[in-house]
């Protein structure tokens, strides 16, 4: 038996996540839906609770001590996020509600200022609705055109015609990792091709940023969007990274307090970056929570997170294939090195609702449905899939539990 090269002990890490010690239907919970949202370590929960208990006050406004502390802690969190993704300046880190809002912000704010009827935006067939719908809205509002990078049989992007797809395009907007197929896309190749064609590049980092080291200089992306709640942070906080020159030139997204320098009866001027894009009272507790999540992940080490996931992916693929053979079909690339730990699967011809219902009886949490990727589902010719996904706190026992529960599912629905 090969020596495990997994630097992370998922079983030990579980201890830091209060929710993972609870039971469901009298059994220990097996949480395999981190692609939907991640669990939170105690340090994140404590940071948010501590904020509310000791320094809760509005930021950028107060002269009094706790207001200054709150402002300080928030901006420290921003700097942590900046360094986490290798951005040059805190001015390039915009806090949003989530990645969906971040993508809408680019489409609306950058898009409406820079795109006219007939301009081309290139997406891919594997995109999440958050990176499709805002562009459909611009098609209706401005009359832009959409082109789509197709997929190959393994669920990777088919880049054969990339240059001709990008010919004359203004925007390339793609995911770094599919939330359905687990496919990890060659981001640098894509952003280089976009730059060569004179297009800006936007990367959906929702699945990639929480699961491996991210460096926006290496990625070469003009914009990157991701959500805090998928990376051990709270819900209600997302990040838009944008290159400073682009953000400077963009008109603001939402208008109100905080994002202004001056407001008169006849007009207003905007605040400096990043606050130009952060209207109103920010989700202060959530930002601090995200900062704590970044610190926690830094403590684990993002390279270790990825290494752990590769080991778990190998274990998952081999376990499920060995135990179920033809009865199970796992979508996406077969090589564990080309994919993240997201596994959409078909099993025994059963509907995902029914699979996840039986799995729930065994306290195994997986997702069922379209995963906000209906065009991809249609392409795959399926109505819906069940999806299991792993993160830093999962271990091989979780995968064994999944396999056992699938066994039970198959048995339940057999005559």
């Amino acid at each position: 038996m090969a020596v495990s090269t997994d630097p992370i002990d998922g079983t030990r890490l579980k201890e830091q996540f209060p929710l993972l010690s609870r039971e469901v239907h009298g059994k220990p919970i097996v949480y395999l839906d981190s692609a939907a949202t991640s669990q939170k370590p105690l340090s994140v929960l404590s940071a948010m609770d501590d904020y509310y208990r000791t320094i809760n006050s509005n930021v950028h406004r107060g002269v009094y001590m706790i207001a200054e502390e709150a402002t300080n802690r928030m901006e420290i969190a921003r700097a942590l996020v900046r360094d986490f993704i290798g951005a040059r300046s805190s001015s390039e880190i915009i806090f949003t509600k989530n990645a969906t809002e971040a993508l809408n912000m680019v489409a609306q704010s950058w898009g409406r200022a820079n795109l006219v009827a007939g301009d081309v935006v290139v997406l891919s067939h594997m995109e999440h609705h958050a990176n499709i719908v805002p562009w459909h809205m611009l098609v209706a509002e401005i009359g832009i055109q959409l082109r789509w990078i197709p997929l190959d049989a393994e669920g990777r992007l088919d880049l054969t015609d990339l240059d001709s797809l990008l010919n004359g395009a203004k925007v390339l907007s793609v995911t770094a990792m599919s939330n359905v197929l687990g496919t990890m896309n060659p981001v640098r190749t894509l952003t280089d091709a976009a730059r060569k064609a004179g297009a800006i590049s936007i990367i959906d980092g929702c699945q990639s940023v929480p699961h491996s080291t991210t460096n926006v200089q290496d990625l070469g992306a003009d914009f990157l969007a991701f959500s805090g709640h998928k990376m051990c942070g709270p819900t209600g906080i997302g990040v838009l990274y944008g290159r400073e020159e682009l953000l400077e030139a963009m008109p603001p997204f939402l208008g109100g307090g905080e994002m202004i320098r001056d407001v008169r009866l006849d007009g207003f001027t905007t605040n400096d970056l990043p606050w130009k894009f952060e209207a109103g009272t920010p989700p202060i507790a959530e930002i601090i929570g995200l900062g704590a999540a970044v610190e926690w992940l830094n403590g684990v080490g993002m390279d270790n997170v990825r290494a752990h996931e590769i080991e778990l992916t190998k274990y998952t693929m081999s376990t499920l294939h060995e135990r179920f053979g033809d009865r199970i079909n796992i979508h996406g690339p077969s090589s564990p090195l080309e994919r993240g730990g997201v596994f959409s699967f078909d099993f025994d011809g059963l509907h995902p609702h029914d699979i996840s219902q039986v799995l729930d009886q065994h306290a195994v949490c997986v997702r069922a449905g379209h995963h906000c990727a209906k065009p991809l589902m249609k392409l795959l010719g399926i109505g819906a899939t069940a999806r299991a996904s792993v993160y830093v706190y999962n271990d091989t026992a979780d995968i064994d539990a999944l396999a056992d529960a699938l066994d039970a599912t198959g048995a339940f629905f057999t005559l």
Partner: protein, 157 residues
Amino acid sequence: MPGLEDLYREIILDHYRNPRNRGELETPPAHRVEGFNPLCGDEIVLYLDLDADGRVADIRISGQGCSISQSSASMMSAAVKGKTAAEIDDLTRAFKAMMSIHENSLEGAETTEPIEAPDVKLGDLEALRGVVKFPVRIKCATLAWNTLAQGIEEASA
């Protein structure tokens, strides 16, 4: 703790494996209506042929979905053939009452009052009574009925 046997009665699995009235009808004269489950993953397409009296002369079901949504649709199709819009309305309300859905309250919200249900025989549909113990799946069971109501309204307009 509700067991899966409460949810997946044999009759439900029978309708799932052998769904009645599958297929399509020519439109027009039939009316086509689509429905999507907010708990995503179930899609239904109904073809309704209403005669001059507003009775469902014929009905077909297409689309894909889970055992609950498909069996409910299958049972529904058998139950509504030959019925008038008023009879279907009574049947729908009786079914939804069984699903503990009160017309006037939020879907699925708990109500301590017993729900007024028309005195209608539900027949095979009684098998879906167990769905109530799995609230997330109520939307699966009611998908066909909501789609039917929408279709009848559209066809009668």
